[in-house]
Subunit: 211 residues, 2 copies
Amino acid sequence: MTSTRMALATAARPREAEILDSIRQTFAEKGFDGASMQDLARAAGMSVGNFYRYFPSKAAMVEAIVTRDLAEVEEKFTGIAAAADPLAALRCGLHQHIEEECSGCDDGPLWAEITAAALRKPEIGAVVQKMESEIRGYLLSAFAMIAGMPRDEAERRFAAHSAMVVMLVKAAAIQAQAGGQVSAGRIELNGLVKRMIDAVLAEVAAAQSKD
Amino acid sequence: MTSTRMALATAARPREAEILDSIRQTFAEKGFDGASMQDLARAAGMSVGNFYRYFPSKAAMVEAIVTRDLAEVEEKFTGIAAAADPLAALRCGLHQHIEEECSGCDDGPLWAEITAAALRKPEIGAVVQKMESEIRGYLLSAFAMIAGMPRDEAERRFAAHSAMVVMLVKAAAIQAQAGGQVSAGRIELNGLVKRMIDAVLAEVAAAQSKD
DNA sequence: ATGTGATGAATGAACATTCACTCGCCCCAA
DNA sequence: TTGGGGCGAGTGAATGTTCATTCATCACAT
């Protein structure tokens, strides 16, 4: 997804999206509280005063980031829902996401910041909350398709499974950016994360035959 | 572990430990960058000037926090190593830790902050890195006992497993503090986390019979 | 007296937020 | 075609606040 963003960076596209990219990077580099308004404005290539016209507060920035990412996620899930084999498509999509986070796309620091900020600032907590619950919603819809059960039954039986997938993906993204282990260790861990995700999906798929 | 800290809070114990507790809370409440030196000093019940005598920088505070927590972890692992059934002891210890993080002990925000800060500030990254690699080391030693293999073989085969356990425990602690889901949902997720940990441990234990 | 642990006011830098202002552009009357 | 006038993006200096860090000073036990 980052590649898409990068590819279009030079082309004509709404100003706000470009600004959003610079905000992402600045938050990732300096932290949520560490990034000053002047840092953010300068990174966006504009004056401080004008910057306030776009984002009156940091919470508004997080909201914009979340909204855009959520749209990308939704797109992916509509693709999965339309696939001939939703289970395979979901599995593949998740594996790919884990791969991407490991190399190239460095969203880990950004989400570490946002996660931490969400636990302190209620406005941000609410925004992040909403995002995660929407993603869990997409997952549950996919689970319902996979297990061949009504949506509300999937909700009852697989709420924890959806939460686990979200948690694993986020944790893996954050962990992938921790510089410590050699690359071999990271790859091994990523493989294990993928197997864990497979195990969660297997439990969902197993409900199909039982019912 | 928090309970231990709390119980001794009023009794006579080294000053630095008390200060450390107040620092933990302040970081958790205001964030790593959000907490000013004056905030930290006031929370510790002392003047700003004197505070610098104890901790000349925020990195030093993180180092002290990490060092103390690491000592607690080491204690737990020596207990596990001495147990009649190390697998059961490790499993039980991990489950208990997941339980604790869910209710009562709110270390989630603190570790979210430290994790985020570690990705930005190299000094903190190094400290956190060292802590996690030591914990992975304890886990690997336990794995070696459980699987009945030399320590270096465990290191080769289960590096990812140890990293996964650390990741799961941390992610669960952070997730447990996110206010969104009702308590029922949290408990379900905790149960699934425990099962995931069990699955990882089962893989380690399974190596025993094969070899 | 003297050393030790503690204080909190002082300093200058950095911060969030506002505001008076410029400039380029487009629409429309003449 | 032209020119004036309004509109909105963009500026950066000004204001009052908070920050990290230092240091002259204090209380007091020895």
